[in-house]
């Protein structure tokens, strides 16, 4: 599983990455967390407000940092 966390590095983007990593560790799933900061890459996902999280290419949230509960639900 590949998880993309998108954001140029604002406070919420850092928070989103931290939450995702914690959730991955907690769920014990085998997932690679990739931080995407390049704006062209972010645009390719069709994301125009950050932070955003995509799992295996599918965008799950845009414009806010997800809660750990939400991320755990996506990982199932």
């Amino acid at each position: 599983m590949k998880i993309h966390v998108m954001g140029p590095g604002c406070a919420k983007c850092v928070q989103a990455e931290k939450t995702v990593k914690e959730a991955v560790a907690e769920a014990g799933v085998d997932a690679e967390v990739v931080k995407v900061t390049d704006f062209q890459e972010i645009a390719k996902f069709g994301v125009f407000s950050t932070p955003a999280v995509a799992i295996d290419g599918e965008v799950k949230v845009v414009g806010k940092a997800p809660s750990k509960k939400e991320v755990l639900a996506w990982l199932k």
Binding site: P8, G9, C13, F45, G46, F48, S49, V61
Partner: protein, 337 residues
């Protein structure tokens, strides 16, 4: 849903009961408990601080929550679609108005700019959005309402939107598209992700509560500091002291305020309490309004972020046009009020 509605009504009633007790409480605290004389410098400063701080914070809590509910409907994706293919003029007005309610943080200005460009939103319309979004927001309006009354708040809203519409329209007429960074023009964006996400009311409430925690958690320090500075000016600077330098009669005070305000950067929460105090000491409304707008609308950090998508020349023209708009607002109000 029914449970949340009941909770909401109960919270609103408690809010109102507490809010209506703030003035008697601040008087009791200052004059009875501390025993300060109402006419003294310290007494007037302490009473101002003890009344205005909780008042503004409580107003912020309520309004940020309500705006949070509104923002759960007006997402960036929604606004992007609403503005796509709009003509200028009507597009500028719509963009300036949507700038007020669309969730926006200057840190995500670049993805938003790309999103608008790839959706075919004209440059001038996009710039109208980018001018109004940081300048006209619920925090500025709550502070103006709480400290200066609804007339000044309404004036700020109307002129802020006016500057965003006119400056964006003028910039659009100037054909500045060549000064967008080349990579932005070549970008191929994917289909907007999650453009149709539907939230349940439970999710909207959670979203609004989150934004209260986030926004009020961030700005409360500025509010307290700003009101403390305002209280000091209130109590200690003599009445009419500023009339000579920031009054109506001094023609150069408006351009000077804008010139000082552009490089300065703080959010609305920090500047408005100071503005309130300046007004009380004889500064003219137009001058103060121009000062405040230039501080909030044109900020160095935001220009650094926009520099990633705009060439230096466009940034310079953008700052110049917006500053001219603000200047006009300042002179207009000094002339008619």
């Amino acid at each position: 849903m029914a449970l949340q509605l009941m909770g909401g009504v109960a919270a609103l009633a408690a809010w109102y009961a507490l809010y209506s007790q703030l003035l008697p409480f601040s008087n009791w605290l200052t004059y009875d408990l501390f025993g300060l004389a109402p006419a003294s410098h310290l007494g007037s400063a302490v009473q101002f601080f003890a009344y205005d701080t909780p008042k503004v914070l409580m107003l912020l809590l309520l309004v940020v929550f309500l705006v949070g509910i509104l923002r759960s409907f007006v997402t960036v994706e929604w606004t992007r679609r609403a503005l796509a293919g709009r003509r200028e003029s009507a597009g500028n007005v719509l963009a300036a108005l949507l700038g007020v309610v669309t969730p926006f943080c200057s840190c995500s200005a670049v993805p938003l700019f790309i999103g608008f460009m790839t959706a075919g939103v004209p440059l001038g319309v996009t710039l109208s959005f980018l001018i109004s979004a940081p300048m006209v927001n619920e925090i500025a309006l709550v502070l103006l309402y709480g400290l200066l009354g609804w007339k000044v708040a309404a004036l700020y809203f109307a002129t802020g939107i006016g500057v965003a519409v006119v400056a964006g329209w003028v910039l659009g007429r100037m054909r500045l598209e060549p000064y967008i960074e080349d990579w932005v023009r070549d970008i191929r964006a994917g289909e907007a992700a999650m453009a149709d996400q539907r939230m349940t009311w439970t999710q909207r409430f959670a979203y609004a509560l989150d934004s209260v925690k986030d926004i009020v958690g961030r700005v409360w320090k500025y509010v307290v500091l700003g009101i403390a500075a305002g209280a000091a000016i209130h109590g200690y600077v003599p009445e009419g002291y500023l009339a000579a330098i920031m009054g109506k009669a001094t023609w150069w005070s408006v351009p000077l305020s804008v010139l000082i305000g552009v490089p300065m950067y703080t959010n609305a929460a920090g500047i408005i309490p100071v503005v309130e105090a300046l007004l009380g000491k004889g500064a003219a409304l137009g001058t103060v309004l121009a000062f405040m707008m230039s501080v909030i609308a044109l900020s160095f950090p935001e220009m650094v972020i926009l520099r990633k998508v705009l060439k230096p020349r466009l940034i310079a023209i953008f700052i110049a046009v917006v500053a001219c708009g603000i200047l006009l607002v300042g002179y207009l109000f000094n002339a008619i009020i």
